[in-house]
Structure formats: structure tokens, C-alpha cells
Amino acid sequence: MSQTIIKQHIPRDDLLASGHLACPGCAAPIAMNLVLKALGPETMVVLPACCWSIIAGPWPQSSLRVPLFHTAFETGAAVASGIKAGLVARGDTETTVISWAGDGGTFDIGLQALSGAAERNEDFIYICYDNEAYMNTGVQRSSATPWGAWTTTTPTNDPEHQPKKDIMAIMAAHRIPYAATASVAYPVDLVEKVKKARTIRGTRFLHILAPCPPGWKTQNDETIDLARMAVERRVFPLMEVENGGTWRFTVDHPGGSIEEYIRRQARFKHLTDRQVEIIQDEVDARWGILSNRVEHGT
């Protein structure tokens, strides 16, 4: 049954070639493939420094069948603004420009340029694939790293102190026309959101959770399971925000204990049961805040 639905909703043609350089089990190429399937070949990709700088392949190769511009870490949104302006200057208002950045390039070093572009309501889609740390440089913490996680800069005897930055609230505060979260475990939902984003003008933002086996210390075949569990257990709810005010969940989130989600990731293995409870409390509290936004629009 679900196969039928996927065939109906997800285009067959791949714009991502085989032979890309992602690690086994990486969610990032799955996400890129789904996004490009939804957008089609009239798409240009801006790629600030992130794992995808490697995945795309070294010169003179490219794993993408659409034009790709590699750029500096903090410039995804600014370069995309410029490309769109250039296209419009020559009369092309149809080609979709996307900026494809990791969590470091979005939550941290690229946030200023992203905020500037969003405030100007630049006409492109900004997509953050979030693996919750600087994975390309060898698993250093970012402001997307969850509380309690091990990284190479948050060792197990002094793990991450801060909860994950609420990037969706930040983007919603810019009152951009469309912002959404998405998951590689929910491909139909992801593709529908990208297709919807494509029909809207102005700045659109998509936040995709991207499990990372080497960084999360998980098995290669657990990626989709973990991505699904993150949604079901409300760690990473799937939602849409339109014009910064209308929040909506797009799938069911049955909830339940996050213990298995945490315990299957060895980046959390140092945590005591009490510390896992703290994470559960945080997830429950966040769910309450989000439910309130969905109900009341704030």
C-alpha cells in the first residue's frame, strides 16, 4: 500500500547520480535526491561548505544533474540571492534556486546571511539538512547539537550543555511565506512540502533531520528507523508554518518514551537514566509549546 502511494507522489527520475561520496547510511543524499525529484531539472543548487561539499564529488565530477555552485560556509543565502537576481535580470523568473546547507551553515555561521535573505524575502528555497553537529570536520558540536550529546568538542565527561536552537521559531519570526520540517523517513510528506514550496514566491525554508551513522554512532541500517522514531516520539515533529503565524502538524506524532531513540545512539551512551528523563521532559515541554503554536498560531 505505502509503495503505491510513493509511486504516485515521487517522480521516478533521479537528478542525483550514483557514485556520490556520502558515508554508508547517510541521510543527506536521500534528502537531496527526494528534494531534486520534487523540484525537477529547472533547478540550481548553491552549496556552502558542509558534508555535501564532499558528497557532490571532486572536480571535474558532479553527482548532481543540475547546476551546482560550491561556496563559502556562511554564504548560502547570499549567493542564492545573487543567482536569483541574476536570473531575474535576464528575464528568467521560473528556475528554482535552492541553497543546501548543513546545520553549521544554517544555525551558526550562515545565520546572519540567512536572516538577511529571509528578511528581504528573497525568492529561493533554503534547505537545511541537519545532522546535529559539524560532521564533515569530524563531529564537533554546533548549536543544533542536542543537550547531552557527545561530540569531539563535547566529550562524555562534559557533554553538550545547551538544548538545540529553535531554528523554526527563528525562521517563523521572519514571517517568511513558508517554513517546514521534513524527514527522510516520510518521503511523501517531504516531497509534498518541496512541491508546495516550489509554487510559493519568496523565501521558503525546509529543515530536514539527517541521521549520521558516524556522528551519532549508530549502525548504517538504522538511519530511516531513527529518523522515523524522531518524528513519532516528537523529538523532531513534522510541521509547516505559513507567513510565520499558521503552524500545522503534517503527520501523526503518537509520542511515547524517547528512551529507545536515545539509547540506540552511542553519542548518548554516557547519559544516566535520570539524564534521559531530562531529555524526555524537554521533548514533552517542546511538544507543549508546539501544540500551542498549532492551536493558537503563536
Binding site: A72, A78, V79, G82, A113, R120
Partner: protein, 386 residues
Amino acid sequence: MKKVMIGNHAVSWGVLRSRVEVISAYPITPQTQIVEALSDMVADGSLPAQYIKVESEHSAMAACIGGSIAGTRTFTATSAQGLALMHEMLHWAAGGRLPVVMANVNRAMAPGWTIWTDQNDSLSQRDTGWIQLYCETNQEVFDTTVQAFKLAETVDLPVMLVLDAFFLSHTSEPVDVTEQEDVDRFLPQRDATFKMDTSDPHAFGALVRPDAYTEMRWQQQEAMHEARDVFRQVEDVWEAITGRRYGAVEAYRTEDADLLLVTSGTITSTARTVVDERRAGGEKVGLLKVKMFRPFPTEELRGHLGGVDRVAVLDRNISPGHGGIFAEEIRSALYDVPPEDRPNLFGYVLGLGGRDVTPTVISDIIDNCRSTARPEREDLWVGVEL
């Protein structure tokens, strides 16, 4: 069409006449009037460009890079701290072979806070791979702005045109604004060598392994060398249209001179009057104005300076721990002149942070240069009082 305008507006008019398609900028004194005038031109429809009012200079350069890889003609302007903030992306534009044009209004670097002129902001970007052209007058600013696009798009390298804060940026002079149809003949719409194109997809700027990186830098260097000849050709065509040319290096009253001043920017105009006075008194003094800093006009400088007794280089900049930057570069260029023709070079550091360089100062420098057997040190600081 002749108009009286400040140097900043001479840049804006050059951008207007060049039919720039994408502008992206962030305000900083003393360049702001450039982008203010461009805002008016875009708003009233006289310049049908996309204008991205970004949140930083770093994003301004990044957006210009985006516009350029989309195939369009792009422009930005900045000064000092703004240029320093762009530094990373200056490498990106040059290494990506994107013909972005930028006006930099020379402003000294903080701290202490200063808005007045010196050249340390632009000269600090020496090794980013940008062509650098320094201007003396508002007419030259207008002409160089238009020429910059032609030069950049011919060799696929970015060009920075440079003008002194206040002495040019905020000073009014008559400027002959070349008619639009003449500029259109000189500078047709950009036809990009390579660009993002969904019908012919390529990846730009990808990871390059050691087996190819050197070759890419070699090609960039070859383009820099080519830029010397191309600039000459660009000036030939521009001169045929307007009657004006400046040269990568301009020799002023250098015939039979035994002492040459070497200047750049507005100090040149002051030095011209001093040379005229000294010549009137029978003294064999001349002047070399260096307009092109990158690529460095090594051969022209050797040709003009070889065989001259004494050379006084006036540097409105300092490379801390070394010396005035033009002086050091010229000293290096002269190493390959036969020893008997190698001039005695005096490097004067002066005018930093906007301090006036008056005719008297330059006259004193000539006297100092004549009366000293050898320079006491490679950096001779002018007028330091502690």
C-alpha cells in the same frame, strides 16, 4: 555631457553607463554615496538592475558572486572594514574567475576609528587575485569604472577600482560623462565565458585535488599577465571614443630627470604641481604615477626607473614590519635591473589616516632625497611627532 560631481557619483555614473544588472551593497562611510545614487537610479528606472540591499559586506560580495555566476554584470562598493570583511569572498570571486567589479574608497583601517584615507585597506587585499586600479581624478574614476567591466569580462578576473576617501570621494570636479551609445559600443551586454545553466549543468568550485589545484592557480596567474596587455587594448578603444587614456603607469616630465617621485592616487596631483615648480627652477625632477597595482606593471617601472639616480616612492600605506608597500614592490622589481642602472630608492611613508600631504611636504621629500647619500632605513616616516 559634462557634469560637476563628486568622485563617488563618478563611480555611480560609470555603473549606470555600464548597464550593470545586479548590484549588492552595504553602507559604509565614505563610499555610501555611490550606492545611494545607484538606489535612486534603480528606483527611477534609469538603471534597470536588481539591487540586493544585504545585511553585510560579506554578503554583498557573496551576492555579487551569485549574480556573476548567473551570467550577469555585477557591482558593489565598499571601504576599509567592509573590504576586510569581504576578504574571504574576494578570493572566491577571483579563484572562481568571476568578473565582479568593485569600487573601494580608500579608508584607513581601525583601530583607532578613522574614516579618512590611506591605502592599507585595498593593499591588504593584494594577494586575493583582484586587479587593482588606483585613480587620481573624478574623470579617471568615471573612465576606470567603465573600463573595469571591459577588462574584467575579457580576462575573467574581478577588478577593484580605488579612489581616495574625501580627496576624491567627496570632492566635486567636472566629469565628462561619456554618452550611453558610445559606452554601449565599447561595452556590450556581458556574454559570460561560463555560467550556471540548467540546459548545460556543471558544478563550479568543487573540491580540487593536488593534481589540479596548481594548474588552476597557473591559469589565474596567466590571466593576470594577460590583463596587462588587455588593459592597454581597453585603453586604446576608450581613447578612440573619448580621447582620454591614463596608462598602467604614467610618466610625467620624466625626460632627463635624475630624481623621480613615484605616487598613486590623489597625492599624484599635488606632486605634479611640485614637479612643475622644481622644473621651473631648472631642476631635473619628474613623476611616475602608478595606476595599476595588480597585475604589477613591472616592465614599465623598470623601463622608467632604470638608470635614474634617485627615486622617492611616496606610500600612503605601511606594511608593519616591512615598509611602504609600493616602495617594497618597486625595490623588488628593480632587483633585475643591472646594478649600474639601479636607482637609489627612498621609501617615504606619509599621509596615513588622511593626514594632508601638501606641496611643502613633497618639496621637503625631494630635498631630503637629494641631500642624503643613502636612505637611513627602508621606511622613511614623514612628519612623525611623538
